[in-house]
Each structure stands twice: as structure tokens, then as C-alpha cells.
Symmetry: C2
Subunit: 391 residues, 2 copies
């Protein structure tokens, strides 16, 4: 409870998410970090610690020790800096660690970033590296990959609750529409329901256009003690709540694969800390690695009752202009999903929205925003609630 | 400063460090964690968060998402749990994060562990994976490995300060002697100076017996808010200071390769927080990945003046029975070095020493102990100071 409103986001930055053939992991990180520093009007010497989210740089680009490497290349070598890994929730977790370090009184101004460089290897190698987020002994070893795991979840959700193939497609259509307004999105073009339904089958019922892409990119935010935030910026955004939880890593060890218990637990912690209810949330950036994951998020975050996520997309509630716009950035689907960067990129988007600086994709009257970042098939989840006011 | 004495170590556990052909990474971690829980008289349901140090499980055993996986296999799935990486300083950093989470008021009782399973691949693959802790673009890509990097440091130290080949050997001899008293050490046999000098050359001037081995193993500690520690144990050990810092990752970017600036900075932070001086330290577990690294540690931690580390080993100051016994556990050299487990294993040893439970290797009248855990060639360093009393 003690964290509520104590820490503010004072600056944000991110690279375009894309296939960056001419940039290295370190280049992408430094680009995002410098943009965030510039945005916060913070100089390098003010940064007292750094937390970097990254899933698998050792596997993808043969480089670990990112905490030190990236502090060095950014020009702040000396400060404590580390890498945190929680699969695709790595930088959501890094953000939480940054908050902890400020709340614990260790540091006043901290840089939190996330980065992944995935396109330097073949798609099958990337699929292998991503599958290390599943249970090696019981899932990955037998050839199970993430499209397969989410396909199982989708099939079960369809059977149990009557969720339709078209409803899944509508998630992708919505997020691509939103992405078309975001100059930093990997895909800035609208698609139709037919496009999704006619795209190649990946793991039945999920198709190519149900799936987030393989991406390169980085995102960064500067956080500070709230009581000094206005020394740097006129538009601090406050962190009201933080929640993190885990679940059984293998799908077969869960009681019900249509509910991600880690999300339910993390959301509860975050809502309690922030003293807000799901209906108070004005916008959310959720982890739509596959379209079904956004439907689950609606339900597990309390935006819809269990089983009624599909209805929410049918009714347009989560579109820009709806009651709770979800993924105004384009989400993982259209904005791109450099896995280690995704959690912080969500914080970047919510911050821009709460500062009323989101351009064509601006959610009107946004006071409270939520981020939802999951690892693997939901074995970890981090939820953050940010507010325009400190409350 | 606010952390000093606020957090206590209430239980410790570790596997034997060894080549564990019949155990998986997850088995090793659970074994160490259960021993720590048992030692702390803490039940699984009391553990509110977990921090795991690990350098490269994705590369070595194709398994990431260790935070979730290990919480699941330990039986505490649900609680927030993550993996932190800072090369060979990964679990020293995990310990610091655990302290932060308690100090920030997020959790009362936390499990911090470290684990690495290195022996399932060839030695050359392990050497490759370890080299991801160096600068890929400027060091590893050109074939530079860690024996080579530390050999450069050793050569320069010998030239600049007259440190001798025999002094380096004496570090290994001392640590093997200490290791012979430690039932959990990988090597429990004494060696002679001649053994070291006649062992195969690895990277001139460093020989096989100057080098820590490739190991499998895990270590775990339970930490709690100091004011509730005695609910669980009669022998809490208090964390008095914590320091972390980074340095340029590539050796060629440092002003002086005979001083690890990360160590100097981290030690300063830890000493200041603990309000102790180097001469107050009764024992230390330092990061002797190669013999030269222990000589540097003497100097950079303030046990000896710069250049006089060799004299300290000549004078027997750092042997059991000397003024500041260093690596009573056997150190990385003899105890073994499963890289992600090393930092927490150092805390395990210092805790046992301060509880007067270290058996044949007990340091008499130990009141204050220090741990020194470095990543790569010193691009990151974490120092902790623990005390028998809260002070």
C-alpha cells in the first residue's frame, strides 16, 4: 500500500518497433533512453540507477550483462544497473523494481527500460527462444510453442463460453486500426475481418493475423519520487498501483486454462493499492500477444464478466471512442512485440495518453490508465495503474 | 541509508556445488530453497515473494521464465517471482532486490535464491555462454574469453605492482585448504603451490588451478523484516549495508584495469550504509573467479593498499586464523562457481559464520562479514555487509 502515488513517471521514450536491420540492441536501447531523458529534462548525471527488462539477449544476440553494457553505452557507467527477466513480462517487472528502489529510499531518479532484438535470427530460432518461457520438460521439449498454447486456450474459451472466431478477428482489426494512428507502430495499416479469417493458419484456430509479430525495439521511462517530480516536468504521471503474480508454468497444471490466475492476482493487488475499481479505468494497454489473450484480459482484469470478453469487442466498448479503449497504441498485434520492451512501452503509451499527447489516437478525458503485461502463457503477470493526478 | 539493519537473514540453504548429472536446474533450486525454509522454520505459505539470480539458463538449459517455473516447482505459485541477471553477480543482485522489496514495505518474508546448471553442455559451449558477460562487439566476437581478460589484468598487476606468480598460487592453495573443511565444496582437497604452478596453462599467466571450475548448484536464503525475524529464528543475521555499481564493460574502456571501479563504488556505498570500515570486517567471501580477482578484491575493498594485495596473502592475513579470513568456504575456486548461485552462496556462508555454525572452517569471534560478488570482468559488483547484531 505504501507505494501509491509516491513515484511519478517524468519522461518517456521509445524507438519505432520494427525490423531494425541496421541497428544493434544497444543502439535501440540508447535511442529510447535518450528520448526519455530529453522528455524528462533529466541529465545523465541525475540518473541514479537503471533497471532493464529483457527476455533473451543471450540467446538472440549472444550478449548478457545488459545492465552494465547498456549503462556503459548510455554514458552512466558506475550506477547500479541490472537486467530482469520474466519472459514477455520482463520490462513490466523492471518497472516494478524501479518503483521499489525509489520507494525503498535508495534512489530518487531512476531509468527503467526494456529492449529486445529478435530479427537477427531465423523465425524458427526465435520461436525456439520464445518457447524457453514455457515449461521445457513438459511443453517445449515436446514441440509445443506459444501459438499452440494460446490455441488451446482459445479453443477451450470458444467451447466453454461460445466465443467466436469473428470476435477474435475483431481484436486484431481494432488494434490494427489503432496502430494506423501510431507513428511508432510496426504495422500502420488497417485490416479487415476477412483479412484475418483468410490469413494462414498458424495453430488452429489462431491465424497469422491473430498473432503479434517478431520485432526489434526499445522503450524507456524516467521515474522519480513524486515530491521532486515537478522539478523536472510540468506533466508528471503518478503510479497509483502495482501488482505482480505468478501461476503454474505449464497449462496442464492449471485448474482452468480460460482464466489466467496471475492476472487476477496481480490486478487485485494493483487495484487495492490504487484504490480504484475496473470501472474507474479510462484506458488500458493489455498484452494481446494473440487475439485470445486480449479477450482473457478483459475478463481477468474485470472489464467484463468471465466468458463475456467476446461481447465487449462486439459492442465496441474497447475501441477508441468506446467506454474503455484498449490498446490505443495498436497493442502488441500492430505496434509490435519486441518481448523485453513491451511492458515499458505500455507505460510509455499510458503516460502519453494521460498527458493528452497521444495525437490521433488520444483517448478523451483520460484520468486513469492500466497496463497489463504477461509472461509466457500467463505464468507471470504485472499490472500497473497510473493516474493523471496523485489522488 | 534507510536499509541498515532493517532486514534479517533468517534461514539459509544450499546444494553441494558439483557436477550434478542426475539433477535438473529446478531440482537443485528446490533442494536449496527447502533447506533454507527448514532452517528458517518458515512454511511455504509465509513466503510472499521470490527473487532468483541466474545468468544464462536460456543458453545452458533452454529454460527462461525461472521466476515462475521455480515458484511453481517449489510450491508457492501465485507469489510474485522473477529472475535477475548481472552475469556472475546475478544472485548478489537478487539479494539486493529482496532487501529492497522488504524495505519498500511490499513484503515481510522473501525467498532469495540463485542457481546455475552448467555441466549439461560442453566446456567450449560453457565458455561461449560465459563470454556473453563481456562486450560481444569488442571482446567476445574476437575470441576473447574470461580467462584471457583476467590474464590481461594479472599481467598488468604483476608489471605495475610486482605481484608474483607464487602469490597468485597462494590464493588457490588457501582456498583449497578452506574448501577441504567444507562438505558442500566441489573440491575438498588441499593443493600445493607446486600443483598450481605445474597445472596446465590456460591464459598466460593463469593456469588451470588459478581458475574456478564449471559447476552446478543452487543456494537460497530467507529474509524478513528485522522486527519480526525472531518469530522464526533465534539467530537472525542482520543486513547492515548493500552497495551495487557498474563499470565500463570492455577492459579497454577503463582508465586502469588493475582497479575494478565497480567494486570501489559498491564497497563505499555498503560501508557507508553499514557505518563500518574495512578494518571492522571479521571475514569476507570474495569473488575469486581467478586468483588475481581475489588479490584485486583485497585492494578494492580496502583490506590492503593498492598494489599490496600480494603481500596480504604472503603474510597469511586472509587465511583461517589470520586477521581477516577470506573465503573460509573455499571460495569460487574450491567451493565451485555455478555462476548464478554464487552471490547467494556467499551470503549463506557469511550467515553460517556469524551464527557460529561453520564447523571446521569457523572464523572465531565473527561479528561482521562481507560478501563481494562481481559480474564479468568487473562491469558489475554487489557488496553486502552482514552483522551478528543489528547495531
Amino acid at each position: 500500500m505504501i507505494m501509491r502515488g509516491d513515484v511519478a513517471v517524468i519522461g518517456v521514450g521509445m524507438t519505432k518497433f520494427d525490423e531494425h536491420w541496421n541497428k544493434q540492441l544497444r543502439d535501440l536501447f540508447v535511442e529510447a533512453a535518450l528520448e526519455a531523458l530529453d522528455d524528462a529534462r533529466v541529465s545523465l548525471k541525475d540518473v541514479k540507477a537503471m533497471f532493464v527488462g529483457n527476455m533473451g539477449s543471450g540467446m538472440w544476440v549472444e550478449q548478457e550483462h545488459l545492465g552494465s553494457l547498456l549503462a556503459d553505452y548510455l554514458g552512466i557507467s558506475g550506477v547500479p544497473s541490472l537486467k530482469v527477466e520474466s519472459a514477455c513480462a520482463s520490462s513490466g517487472m523492471a518497472f516494478r523494481l524501479g518503483l521499489m528502489s525509489v520507494t525503498a529510499g535508495l534512489h530518487d531518479v531512476v531509468l527503467v527500460g526494456g529492449v529486445e532484438k529478435m530479427s537477427d535470427v531465423t523465425t524458427s530460432e526465435s520461436t525456439h527462444h520464445l518457447a524457453t518461457a514455457a515449461d521445457r520438460e513438459w511443453e517445449a521439449f515436446y514441440g509445443m510453442t506459444f501459438p499452440g498454447l494460446f490455441a488451446l486456450i482459445a479453443r477451450r474459451h470458444m467451447k466453454q463460453y461460445g466465443t467466436t472466431r469473428e470476435q477474435l478477428a475483431k481484436v486484431a482489426v481494432k488494434n490494427h486500426k489503432h496502430g494506423s494512428y501510431n507513428p511508432k507502430a510496426q504495422y500502420q495499416r488497417a485490416i479487415s475481418i476477412e483479412d484475418v479469417l483468410n490469413s494462414p493458419l498458424v495453430a488452429d484456430p489462431l491465424r497469422l493475423l491473430d498473432s503479434s509479430p517478431i520485432s526489434d525495439g526499445a522503450a524507456a521511462v524516467i521515474i522519480a519520487r513524486s515530491d521532486i517530480a515537478r522539478r523536472f516536468t510540468d506533466t508528471p504521471v503518478y503510479v497509483l498501483g502495482s501488482g505482480a503474480a505468478t501461476d503454474a508454468i505449464a497449462l496442464h497444471d492449471r485448474d482452468d486454462i480460460t482464466t489466467l490466475r496471475s492476472v487476477v492476482l496481480a490486478a487485485k493487488e494493483a487495484y487495492n493499492m490504487a484504490k480504484v475499481e475496473p470501472e474507474d479505468v479510462n484506458l488500458a494497454e493489455v498484452h494481446d500477444c494473440f487475439t485470445i489473450a486480449e479477450i482473457l484480459a478483459y475478463e481477468d482484469l474485470g472489464f467484463a464478466r468471465k466468458g463475456e470478453g467476446g461481447k465487449l469487442i462486439d459492442e465496441g466498448v474497447t475501441e477508441l471512442g468506446g467506454k474503455i479503449p484498449v490498446n490505443p497504441s495498436g497493442g502488441l498485434k500492430a505496434k509490435g512485440h519486441p518481448v523485453g520492451a513491451t511492458g515499458v512501452a505500455q507505460v510509455v503509451e499510458v503516460t502519453l495518453q494521460l498527458r493528452n499527447e497521444a495525437g490521433k489516437r488520444q483517448v478523451s478525458n483520460a484520468e486513469i490508465g492500466l497496463t497489463h503485461n504477461i509472461g509466457g502463457s500467463g505464468a507471470s503477470c504485472i499490472v500497473h495503474i497510473l493516474g493523471r493526478g496523485r489522488r
